[in-house]
């Protein structure tokens, strides 16, 4: 009964015309970003963050969330038609989606991707609705030691799942923590690593760093290589999958949804990993695994369902505990803070309109996406044909406007460009940006909760091992960190993403 009541509140908020408009804008921009290679949801969200300053927090979060799940939808289109994933989460979709397009079945591939995403998105919102309230109540019992160790665990899982070497991911995380602590010390107001620049007294902003690492650096990498986009020149017809397609896809969509949802909750998991794992699972349970990679519809349905379900799951740690499990949620945390809302266990009580409004808007957004993706597919194909030489100057301009609008400071433009260079070099030398950004956001929270915990225990570190939840989190984190030293565990770590592609 309570749940229905809350949903009522949620739809009351989400159906307000202004919020409907922002929801539509979010999913539209998200789809566009998903379709266009070269700019991802993180860049797009940081770009559009300043545009939400004058809106209500509800409208802001509804739009930013729309960009996130919209991008997951849009990403599949380029994977299927061009064999270039618009998003990292759609990499696996290329394998069978593009093959289906080559066999003249682009329509059903796009159709099942859209329907699968819709079904999975809806299921994961249901899951979010059911899991979030009890978890919020549970999280109310958490103290600083629990928060500190949960954040350590979150960072560790992210580092563990990093594609490349673990020491490199750890270096990125330590660098992120340092960046997050630049500015005045919150205890004694002493400037730290500010190099006597007034602009650095308040610290470095999240937006310039993210836009540099994920926006400018992408452009730099793309302009030095010609992006070849051979769009499949067949007429896309029959978007509705046949009865057989549905029979083949029902299981994969269901399994992908469940898997994606739970992996989305895990820190560092998110859409990318869940799409890889769900593909691997389908290949393993299939009676004809040899069909995978040659145009099996299951190979499109499962990862697309999983990456959409993961978006719903990823909201859980942020909304119930205030801990972002991935970079995109870190951006959303930034947006919440800018609007003066602290996500966490109290949010559901203090801001029920916001909490349930965002959830309800996701239902509506999923419906909008189905309309945007199926009948308008021709328009997205046209967007795909815009040459990169026209596109990249505009992406750069939007980055410049976006970063200036946040703080009205030219200094932030320089920071963004510098981090663009850093991001470019990181890609060249095989370092990942995600641990850096998450650590940057969590850095100050980590330090704060560590100091509070030590005040509680009067400087005794055993506090982290005497409380069951924090002890369990720390033990898992330590285990993951030393796991590369254990031969079979180290091997397993590299098998997870590779298995999907083999």
């Amino acid at each position: 009964m309570d749940l229905l009541n809350y949903l009522n509140i949620g739809f009351g908020v989400a159906l307000q015309p202004i919020n409907l408009f922002y929801c539509f804008a979010g999913v539209l921009i998200g789809t566009l970003i998903g379709v266009l290679p070269g700019i991802g949801p993180v860049g797009a969200m940081s770009l559009l963050l300043p545009t939400t300053f004058k809106t209500t927090p509800e409208a802001a979060i509804i739009m930013l969330a729309g960009i996130y799940y919209g991008a997951m939808y849009g990403g599949s289109t380029t994977s299927i038609l061009v064999n270039i994933p618009g998003e990292a989460a759609s990499v696996v979709t290329c394998l069978d989606g593009y093959q289906m397009a080559r066999q003249g079945r682009a329509g059903p591939a796009l159709g099942i991707a859209a329907f699968g995403s819709f079904i999975a998105g809806t299921l994961s919102i249901l899951g979010l609705m059911l899991v979030a309230p009890p978890l919020s109540r549970f999280a109310l019992k958490f103290g600083p030691p629990e928060y500190f160790t949960l954040m350590v665990l979150g960072l560790t899982v992210l580092i563990y799942l990093a594609h490349g070497s673990m020491p490199k991911a750890l270096i990125m995380a330590t660098f992120g923590i340092v960046l997050g602590l630049i500015g005045m010390d919150s205890i004694n107001a002493r400037p730290r690593l500010t190099f006597d620049r007034m602009e650095l007294m308040d610290g470095v902003g999240l937006v310039p760093i993210v836009m540099g690492l994920f926006g400018i650096s992408e452009v730099l990498l793309n302009i030095e290589q010609k992006i070849r986009r051979d769009i499949f020149q067949t007429k896309i017809k029959g978007l509705l999958p046949t009865a057989k397609d549905w029979r083949d896809s029902a299981g994969p969509i269901a399994r992908g949804s469940v898997l994606g949802f739970f992996l989305g909750i895990l820190p560092g998991g998110g859409a990318v990993i869940s799409s890889f794992i769900s593909y691997a699972v389908e290949k393993r349970v299939s009676k004809h695994p040899e069909r995978f990679g040659k145009g099996a519809i299951e190979g499109v349905a499962a990862p697309e369902a999983a990456n959409n379900a993961a978006t719903g799951g990823a909201f859980i740690p942020l909304m119930t505990m205030g801990i972002p499990p991935n970079v995109i949620m870190a951006m959303l945390l930034g947006a919440f803070m800018i609007h003066g809302v602290q996500p966490g266990p109290l949010m559901m009580k203090q801001n029920p309109g916001l909490f349930w409004g965002v959830i309800a808007s996701m239902y509506i957004g999923n419906g909008m996406l189905l309309v945007l993706n199926l009948p308008l597919i021709g328009m997205w194909v046209k967007v795909l044909k815009v040459p990169y030489r026209i596109l990249f100057p505009l992406i750069l301009l939007f980055c410049l406007i976006g970063v200036y609008s946040v703080s009205n400071a030219v200094f932030d433009i320089y920071i963004m460009v510098v981090f663009g260079i850093v991001g470019y070099l990181m890609k060249k030398f095989e370092y990942e940006g995600a641990p850096l950004v998450l650590a940057f956001v969590l850095g100050p929270l980590l330090e704060n909760n560590l100091r509070k915990s030590l005040i509680m225990s009067q400087g005794d570190f055993s506090i982290f091992f005497l409380r069951p939840l924090s002890a369990a989190s720390l033990i898992i984190a330590i285990f993951l960190l030393i796991s590369p030293l254990i031969p079979w565990m180290g091997k397993k770590r590299h098998e997870i993403p590779k298995e999907g592609l083999s």
């Binding site: 340092v178 002493r190 730099l220 939007f398 030219v410």
Partner: protein, 153 residues
Amino acid sequence: MRYKDIFSSLFWMVIGAGLCYGGYELELGTLHDPGSGFIFFWVGLIMVGLSLSIFIRALKEKGKAGEMRLIWSEVQWKKIVSVLVALFLYGYFFQTLGFILSAALLLVFLFKAVEPQRWSVAILGAVVSSLVAYVVFQVWLGSQLPKGLLDIG
């Protein structure tokens, strides 16, 4: 030897050592009462340790022949440097020239410098895009972009 990792680990080693020094200068404090530099010192030390492990592994591992040359040979220096210089100049002249003028100049340069378009396309594209961006961001969304020389804003 993996040259890529050798160079990058040396870089992080220097940064880590710098952090240790910076942390020490800021005062370490004690475990019970950590000072401002406490966390920097330890994070720097961890960074040095991690980069050392990458360095040692890179020495042992077999790298590709001419690996470093391979990274830089595919870099199109002219394009990358011209885009970066344009971005820095945009920042430098942004307040003086104002948004519309600096955005239009930047776009003309980017349209011409990297993969050259016809002048007509570059100029028209730049002017239209900067005006549309101005209307969307300044007029509709209320961003406070600088007026500059043209005194529009």
